[in-house]
């Protein structure tokens, strides 16, 4: 299962880096430079990514052409906002260093820090 996850990442990395639609064959050619891999494996994982909504595809001639649905930045931003933003995952998923605060509270933090620095300098 983890192996599949790694291949998903490899395919997404390539498609994001290329910035153009590509067939499973294109990806296969690039992946084969590092290790032997079957066409059917790449095609299966590309279809999994399509069903997950990470890739969109259309037919060109007889081959499916795949393309990321969003850029890497968009994907990261939406995922991080989901994880850290207003609608957090179930408790115990991740432990944040410090919770979100309002600008006024941030100012209070800064002034407390400034006061402490003045004290230690004096």
């Amino acid at each position: 299962m983890r192996q599949l996850g790694e291949l998903e990442a490899e395919i997404m990395h390539r498609l994001w880096a290329w910035g153009r639609p590509a067939t499973a064959r294109d990806v296969l050619v690039d992946l084969s430079k590092t290790r032997p891999i079957a066409y059917s494996t790449v095609k299966t994982v590309a279809d999994i990514l399509h069903s997950k909504g990470m890739l969109k595809r259309h037919k060109e001639g007889r081959a499916w052409v795949y393309e990321p649905t969003c850029t890497r930045q968009q994907y990261t931003a939406s995922q991080m906002q989901e994880a850290l933003g207003g609608n957090p995952d179930p408790v115990g998923t991740l432990v944040s260093f410090i919770e979100q605060i309002t600008p006024e509270e941030a100012e209070a933090l800064r002034s407390a820090l400034r006061a402490a620095r003045r004290r230690s300098n004096a």
Binding site: A9, G86, F97, R110
Partner: protein, 260 residues
């Protein structure tokens, strides 16, 4: 919380058995508990009352346990999803034992559990100095090594099992704060107060405020003040006294009740 669960379970048990008490008194209670050898053993089949007497307290004990199992399972799945996401967009941080995610607002967090990991955003890498970053990473490692997420899960399960209970709400807030303080103390063993405090300021202030705000915001200020003011370690005698007092307190009623 454990005290609350046990006490409520016992109370319900006694409420259900109240009639027996009225009829048979203390000897009857002992008989029910099977403590007196010559007590008449009830021959009749278990009645509805018997079933209720056992199941009601059992529910009170099993409810938080069930929530705990459910929440743990949910959190595991969410962590798994998050790890999958990190496999796609995370990169090893140069020079640190952490994963970097290309995201603007500064944030640092850890994914606890067997496949634990500390994650920092690109924004956090930009605003924090090397010393500050190392202090923050030490803080997160303390969470992972202390398995603090289990404490979070425990209080969460308790508050779900008994919603609306002020004890549950306080337990949740206080546990979250105390756990952070423990991690702060761990970070301060090897890193300067100023580095950790400044890192708190930078990360907390840099996060884009959105949606519900100020959830435990005062907690950040309490932590910062605590980090900035050095507290002398309690004297050994004081420490011993606190331990003895907290051990003795729950035993006191027992001693009073059982005194000849």
């Amino acid at each position: 919380m454990a005290t609350f669960v046990v006490a409520t379970a016992l109370t319900v048990y006694h409420v259900v058995l109240a009639e027996w008490h009225a009829h048979e008194g203390l000897v009857g209670l002992l008989a029910v508990c099977g403590l007196t050898a010559d007590a008449p053993v009830s021959e009749s089949a278990p009645t509805l009352g018997d079933a209720l007497a056992l199941s009601a307290p059992a529910v009170i004990v099993l409810l938080p346990l069930g929530w705990f199992v459910l929440c743990t399972w949910r959190a595991r799945r969410a962590r798994q999803r998050h790890l999958d996401m990190l496999a796609l967009v995370g990169e090893p941080a140069p020079g640190y034992e952490a994963t970097v995610v290309d995201h603007g607002p500064p944030a640092v967090y850890c994914l606890p559990g067997r496949r634990h990991r500390v994650v920092v955003t690109r924004g956090a890498l930009d605003v924090l100095s090397d010393a500050q970053m190392r202090a923050v990473l030490e803080h997160e490692r303390a969470h992972i090594e202390g398995r603090h997420h289990l404490l979070h899960l425990l209080v969460d399960a308790f508050s779900r099992a008994f919603p609306g209970l002020p004890l549950a709400r306080h337990a949740k807030e206080q546990t979250a704060l105390l756990v952070e303080m423990i991690a702060d103390d761990r970070a301060l063993r090897h890193h300067s107060r100023d580095a950790l405090a400044a890192a708190m300021c930078e990360v907390a202030a840099g996060q884009a405020p959105q949606g519900t705000l100020g959830v435990g915001g005062p907690g950040a200020l309490i932590r910062l003040r605590r980090v900035l003011t050095p507290q002398p370690r309690p004297h050994r005698v004081t420490w011993l006294g606190v331990v003895m007092a907290s051990t003795a307190a729950p035993l006191l009623p027992l001693l009073v009740a059982c005194a000849p």
